[in-house]
Symmetry: C3
Subunit: 136 residues, 3 copies
């Protein structure tokens, strides 16, 4: 059985953001056992699961990703949409655009420290669309 | 309900390639709601979703990945299959080997700018096998 | 139809480890066609599919990831859990925390060279929990 819902996220600044609560509010009556897929319909943002407690983790994530895929490299050719654009596509290719989470006993079966991160790689990414699909 | 099909891709050069059309041709009669998983049966290639419009994005992807995981590093030990081999495994570990896409109203529910990329990390990767599985 | 099982892995040293056999032992009576999702409930470890034959691949993976995301960078702020902690979260964000594998004719439809890697990014990660979910 499939249940699907498309939602629009509020605008987030560039960076890594914990959005577990937003996801939770939008999935109700979970099946006893199943899976949840969260999918982002964009090529300059990503979704991952990571540490849900200390905000400094998200700050370091942003700085490490910027060092890994720096802006304004002389060999970039896709530059007409801004210096943050091409790096944002590559960062999105690295994080991926969906996460899949088991559902057990009507709940998301996340580890104690796991939360859902929106990875916003653009300076002004605007409202991002995500699709929540549960199957059981 | 599960539908599955294994296909063999034409040979692609090393680099990032848009293969959305090939995928589309091989999935027909999609369910009203469900998921598509695309899986590549290889350890030196990957699959991601990224920008589907400007070919320069794919050129930059290739150059950025080569800078990120360079060939011929002195500390590599898995070198007997060519200088492109060990980097290709790591690049594949970074991109991942499958993508999952929601199906809505009998269509892939991709964002406007999203396309399926084959990431061919070998100089001569040959024909790659992928498995298309829809579930609903 | 969903079948789910949570298992506890033996402790592994920091590094990349082939765990295909452990997975296989814990999934029996696979459906004719379907999918297997393997999910790790942690933020400092990952799961990928990669080369299953030569152990030197796993050694190089560890060294390449350490070079990619080095420890003890002066700009890190999340440092109170040890120098391996923040890098482990980022490495996990890069590899991802689940893999999805097609099931065909009652078997995992992996490529000849594909195996399941546990990516243990902590010096002392302890026993990791993973969830195996098959759906058909």
């Amino acid at each position: 059985m499939i249940k699907q819902k498309e939602i629009i996220l509020p605008e987030f600044n560039r960076g890594f953001h914990l959005i577990t609560d937003i996801i939770m509010k939008n999935i109700t009556n979970l099946p006893e056992f199943g899976m949840l897929n969260i999918f982002i319909k964009h090529t300059s943002a990503g979704l991952i699961l990571s540490e849900n407690a200390d905000p400094s983790v998200r700050v370091d994530f942003e700085n490490i990703f910027n060092k890994l895929i720096p802006e304004n490299q002389s060999f970039y050719t896709h530059i007409f949409e801004g210096s943050d654009d091409m790096p944002s596509h590559v960062k999105s290719g690295i994080t991926g655009t969906s996460v899949t989470i088991p559902i057990s006993k009507h709940k998301l079966n996340l580890g104690t420290w796991q939360g859902v991160y929106l990875c916003e790689f653009r300076n002004t990414g605007g409202n991002r669309r995500i699709i929540l699909t549960t199957y059981s």
